[in-house]
């Protein structure tokens, strides 16, 4: 029995979940800042970034150490591989929160306007994806992870609706372009948050089932790949 090793794996998972909590909270705060235009929330988001980055390095190091020292096999190897990938996705969720907060800062300096994009609704959906993907990680529940993949299509659809509505608005009322484009960028940031949640869910599925569900024939995965490099 490799008691110490398996205890270390549990610790690693806990560490990753603490980091996940920070990243999730940063997204929540950035959206709350959008809703309330409360700049102190933006500051909190900016302040959390170094901590998230620190966690990322720490989790990477822990995982690499275990790979080197314990030569994990099978489900343990898949777990460590998944942790390394999820770690990177969580760090980028944190980056998206920072991007959103920066947009909100700009928007508070601009005249407020009625915009044809429901950011809070989009935020709810992509946050729910993150939460569910993390819950599937906590429970090693690949069925739950599969349900996250299904949610991504809705986020994509909302984002694409926002694009058309904003394009149309900007043509009609060019003076609203600055606010409208900021909102569009935030919608896009939230869509990326959903993409990261999708990645996390795929990694959970790989860990639990040993199945690689990335780049399966559905359009979601293919599209994501293109966006990843943009």
């Amino acid at each position: 029995m490799r008691v110490k090793f398996h205890k270390n794996l549990d610790e690693l998972k806990e560490r990753l979940l603490v980091m996940a909590g920070l990243a999730e909270q940063a997204v929540q705060r950035s959206i709350e800042a959008y809703r309330t235009r409360d700049l102190s929330l933006c500051d909190l988001v900016f302040q959390s970034e170094p901590a998230i980055n620190r966690f990322e390095r720490e989790v990477d190091q822990m995982a690499l150490d275990l790979l080197a020292m314990e030569q994990p096999m099978a489900v343990d190897l898949r777990f460590l591989y998944a942790v390394l990938r999820i770690n990177a996705d969580l760090e980028r969720v944190g980056d998206q929160a920072v991007n959103i907060a920066a947009r909100v800062q700009e928007m508070t300096a601009q005249a407020s306007a009625e915009l044809p994009v429901d950011i809070p609704k989009l935020a709810n959906l992509s946050s729910a994806m993150v939460r569910k993907s993390l819950q599937s990680l906590i429970e090693a529940n690949s069925e739950m992870a599969h349900s996250v993949l299904a949610m991504d299509d809705e986020v994509d659809a909302m984002n694409s609706d926002a694009f058309h509505a904003i394009t149309e608005l900007v043509q009609r009322k060019p003076d609203l372009a600055p606010q409208a484009l900021n909102a569009l960028i935030i919608a896009r940031n939230l869509e990326r948050v959903g993409d990261h949640a999708t990645n996390i869910a795929e990694d959970v599925i790989f860990w639990v089932e040993g199945a690689d569900v990335r780049h399966s024939s559905d359009s979601r995965s293919e599209k994501r790949d293109v966006e990843e490099t943009s």
Binding site: M1, R2, F5, H6, Q71, P72, M73, A74, V75, D76, L77, R78, G210
Partner: protein, 252 residues
């Protein structure tokens, strides 16, 4: 050239102890196949059934079919012939201690009646080169005894001795478990090179070793072959929960 090994419904006993139960598998030619599993699960018994060494124990018995190439070794061949075609290397290097290095390697051929000096010289040189020992011993072939070599060298000497009779299959029962890491990696490199010409079956307790050297891996548990598949599948995504528990150390 190596040949494939086809095992069908192999059962083995020591007295009333049923040691191997209905083992069926195909070992492909010119590849390394690793056998893993906890102590006492029957790995050694299995490889000893592949060259009819099992039956040298008076209390031992085996049933079933083992085909090496197209020959059924229990029906179409004598034990002596089988042991020539199927070489074996053990955990503890067992060179003939007082014999010279040369005579150790040539012993199998001499036993089979070869006397031609020139042929023997050639075979000894070829075998020692194949086992990556030649450079270290070429100047002392007849001066030094088998026992004067280090443990790792002795093991490569035993491999040379097994190769000298030109077998088709090489069975290795934990060949590196008594060796230091450097000697171990020499043995592993050797396995990599020998695969071109021989079919190799290696029992190992070291799972990383199995992962490094073998194309296919079989997991034995309590006399049964639980899973036999390509090595990368066994070590990344085994099908059977018992295999996973064993290789991840959640066993027992």
């Amino acid at each position: 050239m190596g040949v494939g090994i086809e095992v069908v419904d192999l059962n083995a006993w020591y007295g009333v102890t049923h040691t191997l139960k209905d083992i069926t598998l195909n070992i492909p030619p010119n590849s390394a196949t690793a056998l893993i599993g906890p102590s006492g699960c029957g790995k050694s018994t299995f490889v000893r059934c592949l060259n009819r060494m099992h039956e040298t124990n008076p209390a031992a018995r085996a049933t079933g079919t083992v085909k090496v190439g197209d020959r059924d070794i229990y029906r179409d061949a004598s034990p002596v012939e089988i042991r020539r075609r199927i070489g074996m290397v053990f955990q503890r290097p067992n060179p003939f201690p007082t014999m010279s290095i040369y005579d150790n390697v040539a012993s199998g051929l001499k036993l089979n009646g070869f006397r031609n000096r020139k042929v023997l010289d050639e075979v000894v040189e070829r075998s020692l080169k194949q086992s990556a020992l030649w450079e270290e011993v070429k100047d002392d072939l007849k001066k030094k005894s088998g026992a004067s070599l280090s443990g790792g060298q002795q093991q490569r000497l035993c491999i040379a001795r097994a190769l000298a009779v030109d077998p088709e299959v090489l069975l290795m029962d934990e060949p590196a478990s008594a060796l230091d890491p450097v000697s171990t990696s020499k043995i592993e490199d050797l396995i990599f090179n020998l695969k071109n010409e021989y079919t190799i079956v290696i029992v190992t307790h070291n799972m990383q070793q199995a992962a490094r050297v073998a194309e296919n891996t079989g997991f034995f548990l309590m006399g049964q072959l639980v899973e036999f598949t390509s090595t990368n599948v066994i070590f990344t995504k085994p099908k059977d929960k018992r295999t996973e528990d064993y290789i991840t150390g959640r066993f027992g």
